[in-house]
Amino acid sequence: MLKPIEKDNAIRQLRQMLLIRRFEEKSAELYSATKIRGFLHLYNGEEAVAVGVMATLTPEDAVVATYREHGQALARGMNAGKIMAEMYGKQEGCCRGRGGSMHLFDVATRFYGGNAIVGGGIPLAVGLALADKMQGRNRVTCCFFGDGAVAEGDFHEALNLAGLWRLPVLFLCENNLYAMGTALCYTQAASDIAAKGANYGITAAFVDGMDVLAVEAAARTAVDHIRQGNGPYLLECRTYRFRPHSMFDTELYRTKEEVDRWKQRDPIELLAASLCEAHLFDEQERAVLEQDVAREIEEAVAFAENGTWEPVEELTRFVSSARRAA
């Protein structure tokens, strides 16, 4: 039985996951309506990972994300309107429309992207953690990446550096079983990702990535380990992406049955059901939550719709900093 404080937390998690799910559904709709262009990678099914992990981070911590990062950004507390406006390409977007879906950045929440080079953000996270360690700050850098990134040299180089220098990094693998459209078994000689931590002297664990409370508990263990000065931690969250890789994926590589099987373990419904079972939540509260989330999405879309285009005269602005430091 959940205690009241845990109930509040669980409802908060549920709301965040719902926000991400509805945001992604709206994004897909707006993509079809050509309001959003470029590549669009949706997070449906993986919500528990970002939501569970972010609950364990403080505002001083840093986050390095992937190109499938709307969920990570929302869970980190970035404004939904600014993210939507970014995808519209409006200057009110979090990056003035320079980045789009794959490159969300936010200095206020220490959200360092939005990296669309698979694995490219992992060394950056190591550097952020190195800066913290050298400056004596007790902060954690949480670096998200997928199972595909584990095949990149940057993953191995970065884990070696972080293990060698005992840096405060949480390596957070979202293992959704497919590197784009190629299953792990076709790309990894040894497909146990968590086991790879040992090669670099890094404590590692895996967790059911469809269970938000389990993810939160596992991430808390990891973050505590890091904050206590024990060096980096590798946490593999076993999850599943319900939608295609991007908007251009015909999903030849997996069966509908497989997808349906995973949808039985929908992280939102799993949590809602367990709350209902414990009589801590009911259909009426669900409806209120849905309405609340729908309003936030509506506001985000309105914000994006009302946004403006950056003047083309500003095209080369921010290629270099406007001025040098004194």
């Binding site: 320079r98 950045f105 490219g120 060394p123 950056l124 190591v126 550097g127 550096l161 921010f318």
Partner: protein
């Protein structure tokens, strides 16, 4: 009568080392990171002794992971440090090209101005030591293709000593290319040498008959050629670009306005190169000032070979510069 500036004899290697030392002393956010920079003392002995002086936190040996530690340098810069990342040679920097181009050079623009990367990357470049085709190329011109980073090429002792500090003050990534044949170069340098500007080209030798545009080690080949030519009555003006990106167009265009002849000497390959870019800019901005077509002396378009005579044949040489200038001026 102004006081004579006190001079000391030093080497390019020592000038770079003193620049690093000074930066480490003046700013505790500065640290040096790279392969063999600590216990080995630096592949080219630039950082010899610095580990003992500053300790392993700030003179940080890295594994052979160019992408990893260059990326970590970018992250550390984002995190408030002022890293100097040493990449052993330009050929190895290709292993970090993704981080340099896709992260360092793009983050500021892609983030809508939120995240700048105050990072300095130093690396050795160039041929002339019989190091063959995987240690001797001059790829700084490639890097100069990339918006969002600055490319510096110190040739003189003063620039080797002075560019680093100015680069560290820049809020954006700066790459410094040190030609490997220059480390042993010895000469006089003012004892009070300090930071220098990193924006402008310099006229290293005034002349009225032809402009030689060059940078890095080729500067000294051009100066030697100019001395010989002077004895024949041809006065070459020698321009050291210093900064390859951005290029200081004004300095070389002013010179061309005077000499009406221009030869570009670039150790990089010819096709799609920095020399091609400069040539195009001259066509665009000074075409009618010219009495003779722009000419270029570049490295032969081959992987740099090992054998001494073959390597020499692949590189711009003083004799070739002299012969080309004679032909251009006499027939121009």
């Amino acid at each position: 009568m102004s006081e004579q500036t006190a001079m000391q004899t030093t080497t390019y290697r020592e000038a770079v080392k003193q620049a690093i030392r000074e930066a480490m002393i003046k700013d505790e956010r500065v640290f040096l990171m790279g392969e063999d920079v600590g216990h080995y003392g630096g592949c080219y002995a630039v950082s010899k002794g610095l580990l003992e002086e500053f300790g392993p936190e700030r003179i940080r040996d890295t594994p052979l992971s160019e992408s990893g530690f260059v990326g970590a340098g970018i992250g550390a810069a984002l995190g408030g440090m002022r890293p100097i990342v040493e990449v052993m040679t330009v050929n190895f920097s290709l292993l970090a090209l993704d981080q340099i181009l896709n992260s360092a050079a793009t983050l500021l623009h892609m983030s809508g101005g939120q995240f700048n990367v105050p990072l300095v990357i130093r690396m050795a470049t160039g041929a002339g030591k019989q190091l063959a085709a995987q240690h001797a190329h001059s790829l700084e011109g490639w890097f100069a293709h990339i918006p969002g980073i600055r490319i510096l090429s110190p040739a003189t002792l003063e620039d080797a000593r002075g560019m680093l500090w100015t680069a560290l003050q820049d809020p954006d990534p700066v790459l410094i290319f040190e030609n490997n044949t220059l480390y042993n170069m010895e000469g006089p340098m003012a004892e009070n040498s300090g930071p220098v500007d990193i924006d402008t080209a310099r006229v290293r030798r005034p002349g009225s008959d032809i402009t030689l545009i060059t940078y890095s080690a080729s500067l000294f080949k051009c100066l030697a050629a100019a001395e010989t030519l002077s004895a024949e009555g041809i006065e070459a003006e020698v321009i050291d670009l210093r900064s390859l990106r951005p290029l200081d167009d004004a300095t070389y265009l002013a010179s061309i306005g005077k000499t009406r002849h221009v030869l570009i000497v670039d150790e990089g390959w010819r096709s799609g190169s920095l020399s091609a870019e400069i040539s195009a800019r001259i066509m665009e901005q000074a075409f009618y000032e010219l009495d003779h077509p722009v000419e270029r002396i570049c490295s032969a378009e081959v992987p740099i070979p090992y054998a001494r005579h073959m390597e020499d044949a692949a590189l711009p040489q003083v004799e070739t510069i002299i012969a080309t200038v004679r032909r251009m001026v006499r027939h121009g």
